[in-house]
């Protein structure tokens, strides 16, 4: 006896694969295009001097060293504020909060927090941290502002990483008479750690690219020296890019693309760092 294999079924299958593959390609192509195009246009501007020198002639000459350092400071500041608060909130929401209207409202607020336009965060930071708390236009104010924005992502990824820890581990720990906090501290958090760190690194790499919020809370176009304290103003790559591209006349195109490429390199290297952390910790298990 022979089976009639439906030809149409195979065609359907093949068509589906083609469309799925196409959709995937469409998502990948713009990313690759942006990276390659930026690299071609700006690659020539990148040099040791470009990375290590202070700018001169309104950014037309010299390097972008203080902008790179400023962006790294900002990322560090954002991480310092967003990581502990985000992780603790994530623990509370997954492990302790009861499922009631208040918790649901908080969850809704967190989801919507990531939808708030970044300029609004900037204005909030200006009025709250710069003026009310008298932190002024400074690295501290900008870090706190970006941390507020990153918080949503840190909480969400922490929560997911905590929820992904198998129930068997928690029960196994509780079943020998350990407290809930001991179980969280010694079983859940070590397991969730890679996920939490990955989320946090992605959140700060996103924050590193933000232009609008830092525009109003302390980014400066040109600074004669690096920030000496958290209360100083600072230079940052995205703001520098915005200014040299939009406000400096006769700016060499290659320098503009060079700044853009540097920003991409900083952001992408942190994304890669997040991936490496995830892979490393997965192998260790």
């Amino acid at each position: 006896m022979t089976y009639k294999v439906g030809i149409s079924r195979q065609i359907t299958q093949r068509t589906a694969f083609v469309f799925l593959g196409l959709a995937t390609a469409i998502t990948v192509i713009p990313v690759l295009f942006i990276i390659i195009y930026t690299a071609i246009k700006g690659g020539g501007a990148i040099s040791w001097d470009f990375i290590t020198q202070f700018p001169s002639q309104a950014g037309k000459a010299g390097g972008i060293f203080p902008a790179i350092v400023g962006t790294l400071y900002l990322m560090l500041g954002t991480l310092v504020f967003a990581l502990p608060v985000g992780v603790l909130a994530g623990i509370y929401l997954t492990e302790y909060a009861r499922d009631n209207w208040l918790t649901r409202l908080i969850n809704l607020a967190i989801v919507n927090l990531s939808g708030v336009p970044s300029i609004v965060f900037g204005l909030f930071g200006l009025s709250m941290f710069a003026l009310t708390f008298h932190f002024g236009l400074s690295l501290l104010t900008a870090s706190l502002t970006l941390a507020c924005q990153a918080l949503a992502m840190v909480i969400t990824t922490s929560r997911e990483a905590i929820l992904a820890v198998p129930r068997e581990y928690r029960e196994g720990s509780l079943a020998i008479g350990t407290t809930k906090w001991q179980t969280i501290r010694h079983i859940v958090l070590p397991q969730a750690f890679p996920g939490i760190i990955t989320g946090a690194v992605l959140a700060i790499s996103r924050a590193a690219g933000e232009t609008a919020p830092i525009l109003v809370v302390g980014a400066a176009f040109l600074m004669p020296k690096l920030p000496q304290s958290p209360f100083d103003q600072f230079m940052a790559l995205p703001y520098h890019l915005y200014t040299v591209a939009a406000h400096v006349p006769n700016m060499p195109k290659e320098t503009i693309w060079g700044v853009a490429l540097m920003l991409l390199i900083v952001v992408l290297s942190f994304d890669i760092l997040a991936a490496v952390i995830r892979i490393k910790t997965r192998q260790k298990r």
Binding site: R98, D99, P166, E168, Y169, E171, G172, S173, L174, A175, I176, G177, T178, T179, Q182, H186, I187, Q191, R285
Partner: protein, 273 residues
Amino acid sequence: MDITLLKQNGKTEFPSTCTTKLKTEKVNLYYGTFQALRNVTLEIPACNITAIIGPSGCGKSSLLRLFNRMNDLIPGSRVEGNVELDGIPIYGPKVDVVELMKRVGMVFQKPNPFPMSVFENVAYGPRRHGINNRAELEEIVEKSLRQAASWDEVKEKLEQSGLALSGGQQQRLCIARVLAVEPEVILMDEPCSALDPVATLKIEDLMRNLAQEYTIIIVTHNMQQAARVSDMAAFMMMEEDRAGTLVEYGPTSKLFTNPKDKRTEDYITGRFG
């Protein structure tokens, strides 16, 4: 272990040498609006193995998890009636659930060693209970692994991941982990269902040894296993609304050779379930 139980006026009585360790009285357990257990009354003797058998979904695990309040983890769970450990109501006010779980340890269906070394798996409980002295921990780890019939197999592998062991070794590691905090009762929720027959027999031997010092309650799907290892057996079924009830409870030898209830007989002879 020879146990003669007398049935008097519907109340199970143990010989005077055998005290009651755990007791439930008219217990109803609810998950939200769903009733998981109805009117369960039984007394579990100390230093014995009690098996809970019955078809899937009849509330065996729910009954087991009643004894260490593991059901509390499920949102919306509610207990009516009385559950006692050594005469103390464990659902009463002022009960320290953490201390209860230390006294009533639990081994799960799927071996669940923590993703850490064999040594740290066993030392985990004692560490959390405040023992930090290395020598003391080493002593506890060795003693617990010996009790769990694992020492000779894993003594060279103490620093290896617990997850690298075979399934049977993992389960005995989990038993050692429980033993390390010196419980009085060990609850076992189908501890052999993920293991091969050889590993299963090892665990059964281990249970028989442990029963000299510990009160063991085991939930099992495997009736041969219940017949082989247990002193007492409880047969459960679910009612039409899927609430679990206790059909028959008594010495294993009696329940398996001369069941009083027709439904027990049907089940153990394999007519359903």
